[in-house]
């Protein structure tokens, strides 16, 4: 008899929704595994279920009761004889209580071992770890700073401007820039309170604030035999509310500087090796104008923007992640074997106001795509999709690949023109402006791009009469039976 663990065929539970759930389900099917998808009463027509083999309803109405309900998910795993769980991104993807519980129950966690997540999940601990293994870190306090006096002392050592930030912070919350001593005095306690309420941990760090920084990250992929590979870097400096909206690979800021690229990527590999990393992950770095780079954090999961790396290297990161989790060979002979060609750009398509960049929930009443060659659109869009405030407003990822950066941009422009989403506001008009912005075209943007270039102010909001007339004419032509 073939027991569950010996069988090559696996039953994989995808504990996520939207485009990433569909992406994972496709990878499971490709490998011959059974993709078990989940759904809740809030999204009954969920598109990702179309590509799953089996479906499980998660009872409850809030995320706490559904996607974050560890006891129930463990029950589901037992009931449906699940061999492995893929968390996607967000939700439980970096929750060690969950991954440990799975491991304890003999279920494979499709992600890194819990210890790596524990170390990298804490900003202070991860920074200390990175420093120990020889990775440059942003100068600052070695641990939580208890008092204002202590913060000022460190600030004077590392020189202003400095950043006050929550140990447990993320996504731009719980951090403040201070240009002088007075700023530190005024901000220290408010940030502590913000951290306490948002993350239940008031501890603050002090670190040097990098002016005009670039957000560079290195894709890591490792197996359970100690092989760690990098798949080059991505640049994700175009952000709003500290969340990325446009990403590209390779980084235009690193550009032709292959020596710098090697140093950046190798430092990420060294860090991953030191933590005995055994899955897909991302080492995030901050790079100053002088091209000096520092460790920021490591994301111990698959990331939203992984497709651009797949496009320039040809790797399937999700497939490899699953193979790695079950102890299989990745089929990658050496680091040198991994090559990159061309350039890829991703625009995150979000249901949000293109000017204010705030989420704009609604119902999708229609969706049409008309793309040039070289476009990939990972999405969960369908007519009738209800975008609720409960979930992230991202509804799709438009990825353009070209042999040159200019070609990728040209394709992206054409794709944005060919992407029609009806019924709710999207940031497509904002992306159209970014793709024509001079600073973006020269590839010389920093994370201040949105703040200084203000593409949102250049969005043309005048009524597009031709488009309006065409829509009405289309309805009328059908009605009159043309």
């Amino acid at each position: 008899m073939i027991t569950k663990s010996e069988s090559l065929h696996k039953r994989i539970l995808i504990i996520n929704r939207g485009e990433i759930a569909a992406r994972i389900a496709k990878a499971c099917r490709e490998l011959g595994h059974t993709a078990v998808g989940v759904w809740t009463d809030n999204e009954v027509q969920a598109k990702h279920l179309e590509v799953c083999d089996e479906w499980v309803r998660l009872p409850g109405s809030t995320n706490q009761e559904t996607y974050l309900n560890i006891p129930n998910i463990l029950e589901v795993c037992k009931k449906y004889q699940i061999d492995g769980v893929h968390p996607g991104y967000g939700f439980l993807s970096e929750n060690t209580e969950f991954s440990q519980a799975l491991v304890d129950n003999g279920i494979t966690w499709i992600g890194p071992h819990p210890e790596a997540v524990r170390v990298m999940g804490d900003k202070a601990v991860s920074k200390e770890f990175a420093k120990k293994v020889g990775m440059p870190v942003v100068p600052g306090s070695t641990g939580p700073v208890p008092t204002i006096a202590e913060a000022i002392k460190i600030a004077n050592e590392i020189k202003y401007p400095i950043l006050l930030k929550a140990v447990a912070g993320g996504g731009g919350r719980g951090m403040r820039i201070c240009h002088n001593e007075e700023d530190v005095r005024n901000n220290f306690e408010p940030v502590q309170r913000e951290a306490a309420s948002a993350f239940k941990n008031p501890d603050l760090l002090v670190e040097k604030f990098i002016v005009n920084p670039h957000h560079i990250e290195v894709q890591i992929l490792a197996d359970k035999k100690g092989n760690v590979f990098h798949f080059f870097e991505r640049e994700c400096s175009i952000q709003r509310r500290h969340q990325k909206i446009v990403e590209e690979a390779p980084s235009p800021f690193i550009g032709e500087d292959e020596d710098l690229r090697q140093r950046v990527c190798n430092s990420a590999v060294n860090l991953a090796k030191a933590i005995k990393y055994d899955s897909a992950g991302t080492v995030e770095l901050i790079m100053g104008e002088n091209k000096e780079f520092y460790f920021l954090e490591m994301n111990t999961r698959i990331q939203v923007e992984h497709p651009i790396t797949e496009e320039i290297t040809g790797i399937d990161l999700i497939v490899c992640m699953i193979q790695s989790a079950f102890g299989e060979d990745l089929g990658i002979p050496s680091q040198e074997w991994i090559k990159r060609t061309g350039h890829a750009i991703e625009c995150r398509i979000c249901a949000e106001d293109p000017i204010t960049m705030l989420p704009a929930p609604g119902i999708v009443t229609g969706c049409e795509t008309n793309f040039p060659q070289g476009i990939r659109f990972d999405n969960c869009l369908y007519k009738g999709l209800v975008v609720t405030p409960d979930f992230d407003p991202m509804v799709g990822k438009l990825v353009a690949k070209g042999i040159l950066r200019e070609v990728a941009i040209r394709k992206m422009r054409a794709a944005l023109d060919g992407l029609l989403v009806e019924g709710l506001k999207t940031n497509i008009p904002l992306h159209k402006v970014i793709m024509k912005n001079e600073v973006f075209l020269h590839g010389k943007y920093s994370t201040n791009f949105i703040a200084t270039e203000k593409p949102q102010d250049q969005v043309d909001t005048s009524m597009d009469y031709s488009a309006l007339y065409k829509k009405i004419a289309g309805i009328e032509a059908r009605r009159m039976g043309l």
Partner: protein, 172 residues
């Protein structure tokens, strides 16, 4: 056919389909005009062509775009604004078609009456064609029911606010 676009601040755009010209079995030309605050602010013709069971639209007859498959929507989107969209009638208008009584909303001349007393009519059905401001307007039924009375005939020139037809709503 008159269309109304109303934004969250109650700004109203009236989009009139003022003329329809059939060029062939697969091509129609529509003339559109947009009226805001009683002023015509935009005018353009749109060609619709049917090919292989699909619809394509163009304003210049050179560049064509496929028309998205969409049922008559209740909202229209323009960049950062969402408009409520009504075709043929709008709710809460004084004496609008939605109460069962069909009133003129501007001075005009009756071109055609498309129902008779006693007819069973359904909501959204065109009952009268009224020529006003050099355009043909379809006056649609606001409720399903029976035509109770018709007070006008083809050729009549009418002032604003005249009751043309009464429809008695039936219980659903």
């Amino acid at each position: 056919m008159r269309n109304y676009l109303i934004d969250s601040e109650k700004n109203e755009y009236i989009v009139d389909l003022s003329k329809t010209r059939t060029h062939s079995a697969e091509m129609v030309e529509f003339e559109f005009r947009t009226i805001k605050d009683n002023l015509e602010i935009h005018k353009e013709n749109v060609f619709i062509r049917k090919l292989a069971d699909q619809y394509f639209a163009s304003t210049d007859g050179v560049r064509w775009n496929k028309v998205a498959r969409q049922d008559s929507p209740s909202i229209m989107l323009n960049v950062d604004k969402v408009y409520k969209f009504y075709q043929g009638y709008k709710p809460s208008s004084a004496g609008g078609a939605d109460e069962g009584g069909l009133f003129t909303q501007m001075p005009g001349k009756i071109v055609k009456i498309m129902a008779a007393v006693g007819d069973h009519v359904t909501k959204g059905q065109t009952l009268i064609i009224l020529e006003a401001m050099k355009m043909e307007n379809e006056i649609k039924c606001g409720t399903s029911g029976i035509v109770k009375a018709i007070h006008v005939k083809a050729g009549d020139a009418l002032e604003n606010g005249i009751l043309m037809m009464e429809v008695e709503a039936e219980a659903e």
